[in-house]
Amino acid sequence: MKIAVCLKRVPDTEMRFAIAADGKSVDTVGLKFEISTFDEYAVEAALQLNEAHAPGEVAVVGLGPDGLGEHLRKALAMGADRAIHLAAETVPYDALAIARSLAGALKEQGFDLILFGRNATDTGSGAVGPMVAELLGLPCVTAVSHLEISGATGTARRELEGATATITFPLPAVLTIDEGIARPRIAGLKGIMAAKKKPMEVRPAELGAEVLSIDRLALPPERQAGRIVGEGADAVPELVRLLHDEAKAL
């Protein structure tokens, strides 16, 4: 089985956050980056599928600046076979522009599955996966939390709000992967050494015109500093009174 996994490099979610001087981006000084959480689940899902349906390959694909290389290399250390780095100085905000670039790189490569994370942890849009599916004319299932492949047919489970859907789809297909599918493995020393020799193709991202841009990035309005109503169970009546009379929340 041939599987592609698309990865995004995102700021570490534990980071201290500051807005850059342009008022439109994150101050990257001293910032740590990582592979977006759900994308790591997608890598793990691809590796497990590949192990169960050998022979095949797992290719990891990303769009971003030079720093993306080390994260693609990490996925190679986990066990992916090759990487494609679509080089761009910055990752645009416009999901359609990203999707067009990725679709161009992924088309006619004979992938049985193209996996994405459910959404990136920075912008959180979850749009690129279904857009790539649409551009390539492939079936698509989003937010997959459980997956089985049998021959040319897949069965997926996806969590809705308060319900679970079971879905069948034909291969080739595009899937976005939710938490719960598999715990990402930690690359061992052997994997890290092997990754150094695996192929990484770097080529320009060829981003076209953008229809979505960012005007401004700001810190969220601060919530009013918390008020401690009191200590222990004796504070409860006062809390309930405040919720009723002041906050109008009862």
Binding site: A95, L96, T121, P130, G162, L250
Partner: protein, 329 residues
């Protein structure tokens, strides 16, 4: 004047609250633009036309109904094709979806079909002559981006709970619409939708969310949270990632960066320290209450009201007081 197309989400043939929120947001924006037409699209099996009344009451002028046996469950391919066709035939300035699981699946497909931009998971938007601006929380809620969409139509998905459902009657004309793609021809097929925790309010739709963290110390202590939810009467029970990772609660109950994003009227955090990943999922709640024994816990920095102390003493008392308050009306 700007016309809008709204996708009205249903489940099991019934409108979801997010559908009313989305149509309300469109009504408000249409009126702000000087009185445009709000088109609503509702798809389902026979009988889903019954949803038209509530959509009209919340501002829909034209309700387009697609009924087909194969639309009983979400049929992404057929619905996306139909939505795209309707947006084009109505000449809508903007198309609104809910940023629910279904809407997040649908909106990008429609945007890609039309070759236009998508602003996903927005909390507010404004339509201008040559562009649309949208407010989108990013970086796990640590920042807010103001996005600019150029071109027509603009496609937006609206964060559940961010826009209130408001009764404001539209013209409410109902017509039936043929699907732009035969639902029976779809490649992806939903074979089953099983309710999880039937009869319980969904976290995203409950006006009150009570959430528990590690401070509860054991899975069985979540019965306390269930009792608290029952006392409110309109509450759903959520949990932190630590709790779902430990298997105390279903992973679907997780609130936070990798779980559900909720924005209820009242959020009660019990035994939750307030890790940044958890705050990302609930910090836009209107009123936040925190109960924690550590007075320095970060949750108190976002909470409107806090009580410091032993939750095993505080929560039973809270249940008692809420019950008494409800009984007194």
């Amino acid at each position: 004047m700007a016309d809008f197309m709204v996708f009205a989400e249903t489940r099991g043939g019934n409108l979801r609250t997010v559908a009313l929120e989305t149509v309300s947001a469109a009504r408000q924006a249409a009126d702000a633009s000087g009185g445009g037409t709000v088109h609503a699209l509702v798809c389902g099996a026979a009988g889903v036309a019954g949803a038209a009344e509530a959509l009209a009451a919340h501002g829909a002028d034209q309700v387009h109904v697609v009924e087909h046996p194969q639309l009983a469950h979400y049929n992404a391919e057929s619905v996306a094709a139909t939505a795209a066709a309707l947006i084009q035939s109505t000449g809508a300035r903007a198309a609104l979806f809910s940023a629910s699981v279904e809407g997040r699946d649908l909106a990008p497909r429609v945007a890609a079909k039309l070759g236009v931009g998508l602003a996903a998971d927005v909390t507010a938007f404004e339509v201008h002559a040559d562009h649309v601006t949208a407010t989108h929380p990013v970086y796990t809620g640590k920042a807010v981006a103001t996005l600019r969409l150029v071109g027509t139509p603009a496609v937006l998905s609206i964060r559940p709970g961010a826009q209130p459902a408001v009764e404001h009657a539209g013209k409410g004309e109902v017509s039936s619409l043929a699907p732009a793609l035969d639902p029976a021809a779809a490649r992806v097929v939903v074979t089953e939708v099983g309710a999880r925790g039937a009869a319980k309010l969904d976290l995203g739709e409950a006006p009150v969310v009570v959430a528990g963290g590690r401070g509860l110390r054991a899975a069985e202590h979540f019965s306390l949270m269930e009792d608290l939810a029952a006392a409110f009467g309109n509450a759903a029970v959520g949990a932190t990632r630590a709790v779902t990772d430990d298997g105390w609660r279903d992973p679907a109950d997780q609130i936070g960066q990798t779980g559900r994003l909720v924005s209820p009227d009242l959020y009660v955090a019990v035994g939750i320290s307030g890790a940044v990943q958890h705050l990302a999922g609930m910090r836009t709640s209107r009123v936040i209450v925190a109960i924690n024994r550590d007075k320095d816990a970060p949750i108190f920095k976002v909470a409107d009201y806090g009580i410091v102390g032993d939750l095993f003493e505080i929560v039973p008392r809270l249940i008692e007081e809420i019950r008494a308050r409800k009984a007194a009306g």
